[in-house]
Symmetry: C2
Subunit: 704 residues, 2 copies
Amino acid sequence: MSTKGVVSYSAAPNPAALLQKERENPSVDPVKMNYFLEGSKERSELIRSIVQQMERDPVLATNASYYHMTKDQERELTALKIGRLASYVETDNLDDFQRRLSIIGLFDPQVGTRLGINLGLFLSCIRGNGTAEQLQYWAFHKETVYIKGIYGCFGMTEMAHGSNVMGLETTATFDKENDEFIINTPHIGATKWWIGGAAHSSTHCTVYARLIVDGEDYGVKTFVVPLRDADHNLMPGVTVGDIGPKMGRDGIDNGWIQFSDVRIPRFFMLQKFCKVSRDGDVTLPPLEQLAYSALLGGRVMMVLDSYRMSARFVTVALRYAVGRRQFKPSDGSEESLETQLIDYPLHQRRLLPYLAQSYVISAAALKLETTIENTLNDLDAAVETDDLDGIMKSIDDMKSLFIDSSSLKATCTWLTAELIDQCRQTCGGHGYSSYSGFGKAYNDWVVQCTWEGDNTVLCISIGKPLVKHVMAVINDGKVVKGSSSFLTDVKDYLNDKPVITSVSDLSDLRKVLRAIEVLLMRLCYQASTVVKVNKGNFDYVGGEMLVIGKLKAHHYMLKEFIERVESIEDKSLVPHLLNLGRLYGASHVLDKFSGDFLAYSVLTTNVVSEMSGYFIPDMCKAIRPHCIMLSDSFQQSDMLINSSIGNYDGNIYENYFNTVKTNNPPSNMKAPYSAKFEALLNRASKEIRDRGEKSEEAAEILSK
Amino acid sequence: MSTKGVVSYSAAPNPAALLQKERENPSVDPVKMNYFLEGSKERSELIRSIVQQMERDPVLATNASYYHMTKDQERELTALKIGRLASYVETDNLDDFQRRLSIIGLFDPQVGTRLGINLGLFLSCIRGNGTAEQLQYWAFHKETVYIKGIYGCFGMTEMAHGSNVMGLETTATFDKENDEFIINTPHIGATKWWIGGAAHSSTHCTVYARLIVDGEDYGVKTFVVPLRDADHNLMPGVTVGDIGPKMGRDGIDNGWIQFSDVRIPRFFMLQKFCKVSRDGDVTLPPLEQLAYSALLGGRVMMVLDSYRMSARFVTVALRYAVGRRQFKPSDGSEESLETQLIDYPLHQRRLLPYLAQSYVISAAALKLETTIENTLNDLDAAVETDDLDGIMKSIDDMKSLFIDSSSLKATCTWLTAELIDQCRQTCGGHGYSSYSGFGKAYNDWVVQCTWEGDNTVLCISIGKPLVKHVMAVINDGKVVKGSSSFLTDVKDYLNDKPVITSVSDLSDLRKVLRAIEVLLMRLCYQASTVVKVNKGNFDYVGGEMLVIGKLKAHHYMLKEFIERVESIEDKSLVPHLLNLGRLYGASHVLDKFSGDFLAYSVLTTNVVSEMSGYFIPDMCKAIRPHCIMLSDSFQQSDMLINSSIGNYDGNIYENYFNTVKTNNPPSNMKAPYSAKFEALLNRASKEIRDRGEKSEEAAEILSK
């Protein structure tokens, strides 16, 4: 046997050269593409400036040592970083600081969250439920927005109640005599649980508790409750504990809180919508849902996070796939080098849909961000001027925003979890090293699928109004508004006529969109018939609702993506973007849900076979030559990505090896416990250690 | 608004009572069911005895503190546990110790692996590649099997080569003059990487290196190379380092090794198949594949691990689903309590297929275990007696075993990763607590999808022979043997006739099996036509091969499950088992691959719709009343499960809260870094900290 047919071992691999080659004669300008991804030149440049500041910051910047920290070290460093950010919050304008937090959420999510609970959830709750004066007082007068004086946490979930907010059991009983509320935890199940920042940082908490006045239960309202005084000592009646280690984000001091008849002044109740007068008269809000807007902002942020995190890890996996060679061509060619991973059609199919995903999510995130901003401003203006029509319109907008943000939050966070996991797997063993970044990122990420609305519960809860829309269209000729307006045509599509009958239609993204719409109509109609049979109980269509919830998000994303591409100024980017959109639609939607598209006759079996056999591979092939430039377009620096196999220079092996040696010096030749282990291997024989008691000699004596 | 319609908050939740209720009047005897799951009464009882020993062992037993350990603590404790196991290995018989390791792999996988590398991979490599005398010497004479004297590691993968073993670049050059081999690492890419036990524990390594004699490269062979002397000091020329933190299993000291012209005697080469004489004459093995049997045992073990780990976490999720209530019925009933999670049809659909999965994998694992034992024994006997016919038959058996073990390893480890992840999500926020066990288990688990044969590469590599079988059947009328024998009928099924046309057929597991077989035939045929067009290059059918690889495993599992159920003595278990098999087939196979089953016309669209709409929900409903008994049947004790929300008593909230308080005493009211954080909140105003330099007063002076 000769060396022919096996790998040459004379030359070391040179992955950096392979990566650089991808950047020669580019047809994509990554700077311009980044304007598209971030929404504008201005914002792209703002982000670059913010990144540079943080990259050079001695406290905020991360590197490989980040993957060595224990829980206690993470807790302390996270607090330290918040202190460092406090100096930025005093000078940034609000919008810039929001960007800064969003970027931090990418490379050190626990800092983003631990601070976001205070500046986001705590203040959002006050903004959403308190009067303008209350917001002014707690946020500005007390300097909370500057991370000063007060540090807030968000006391919604309890040990036995998460998703069912209406069922929370902490009580706030009005004590008319003293003009106070008495906050109480009636039993273990009502212990406030998972409260980020409660264990060690927070001074105040916005507590969700049942308002009880004169023995009557008015449902769950919100109250500001001080937990610690200015010396950071716990208030009387407040018991707080650390809930301990988590799957990820150990830098956040999640805690539990029990209130034992803790008294707060009446004016600590947040009373934009619901008021209790001095005499105990209760004014209730026009619509209960208005009180839950606190979570909306977070959901929108999570869609943006999904874009950035997806971009980060598909970049790592693509750089690795270009630099890594594996197996020689199986077609018997004389090629002496092994094939680059990225040149395997299957590898392209595994990775490139995730590249497309990052692009498509970005478009949805940008749109959602402007929508929430406008909707909340309109609502605030209407409430302030007592404009009832305005309030009603805002309620409609809020409902639509609730559907869109919920379905997108669920679908995008799931897609991103899947992306991190799958991208890790494409990096083989090296993906399992902490230094590649996947492990910690996954652990930190997946809680996004659960918190602030469990994804499954969210999908179901948005499926319900869609099914009801369809029922109303059929029964009452309702005209549906907002992002679900396509449901108005439902009657025309309740047949088994396929929407896409030729694979060539898949290039037309509007047709793909139509296919999703028609499947949604048919699914909603099918679900409505089952609900009818079950007398209005939706529990039997949970499976359908889950699919409806996901497809609704894909529809929104693809639609926004198409519209952004159509309105783009730099037309040179369009062909690339269209291919990404096509790959996304075909792989992430039509192929993934092919069973449904076929079962509801939206696609033909021919289309599904040819899509999988030709269309998707062809799209991958078209994107392949540009994949590095398309991921360079995310403009994520090495510090942000923090992956020793995913650096910009592509020098995978040297970078990785240097990281390993720097952080684990090989001069430490023995483990601290080596003596014990040596003693184990060099121990005496079992007979000696048994003191010879089982020997034949002993047997003879002991048997006599 | 009154309390009507909301949750009563007077009484604390009582999940323990709910769980106990499930165990009243059981129709499943969990002890007898365990005999089925473990294969026999004897084995079931053996395992119970082993578990009891370890549960009471002060070093081996785990509890919640396990979730608090840092990497360094895990490293040390893992070594300590290996020392403790050394006393068992001296007295257990081989089979019992194998069981013990398998159980350890469930509740402390890093111990199982760190020891398994020595007793499993290192010795398997010697068994597979060395002569009987070499095995006798290294394993027994040097006492390695007793964890004494020698501690081995397995030096296969390199930094730039994992899956492509034939392409490894470490060299073993024969030095005729000195009758030695010179082991060398030619460049960074050939650095041995990921070698478990190398960093701190191992004294010896079975090194995979290219045999070079007289300038000729004979491909990759195996050599025993000492790394450390009896004082545990590194040998000259051997450089070893720690590769640092990983996504999971930090208790294993994975390392990297570089050899700089390290000399070993010629007789350290493992020479069952390949020999180098004193004069440098090389004898090559009859079949190269025979040399790679070292990984087979591990793959088989991983299927068994998949069963146990699946059982562990579906048990946790089911107990939680029974004890947890969430939302009141939406049908307007007067029920005052919230609904138990398990009573939602969607929740059943999310969990019960995983219960079924655990049962089905168990059957496959048992079968595979006996097959490998017989095959390796037959091979050893044939080699020892120079029985050429026997060797050729063994080679056939090995090929079949390779296909079965590879497809099962890939599919079962993926299914288990998915199960842990999905079960965690069904436990909501509490699933994210380390104390629930999901996080660490997932992190420890997922490497199983990558190591000892990357799952995707394995699926592809077994798809290839199946496609070739189909080509040979069609072209040459070949008769296929072994577990793929159904492919022999391929010609009769190359049409678009559906196999299952009525949803009632789904109850007949033999028909489900036939459906899988027909889809496999059609997929293989379709792939073969594409390969033909591409001149034998399989790269273009990677996607199809992946599906083929997965379906082959499902076929094997379901077939073994059916056969075990048919041969069961206690017929009272059969109805339950059949329902589990039906749910598994419908949900994990037909529904999950419905796009393929429809595109290849194996199922009709009606069947797919009705399966999803009725059949799967009905199966779930049938299994629901027995789900706790069916998971109690795994007989996993609280120590094994180590989840504070998954204990046998079902007292979720009390157990969880006690765990939290014990491990994080609330009397520690302040964090160690609290003073810094207090100083941050109580800092002086920005103006003061800016020394007044930006004041109007300063402006006036400085502007003059």
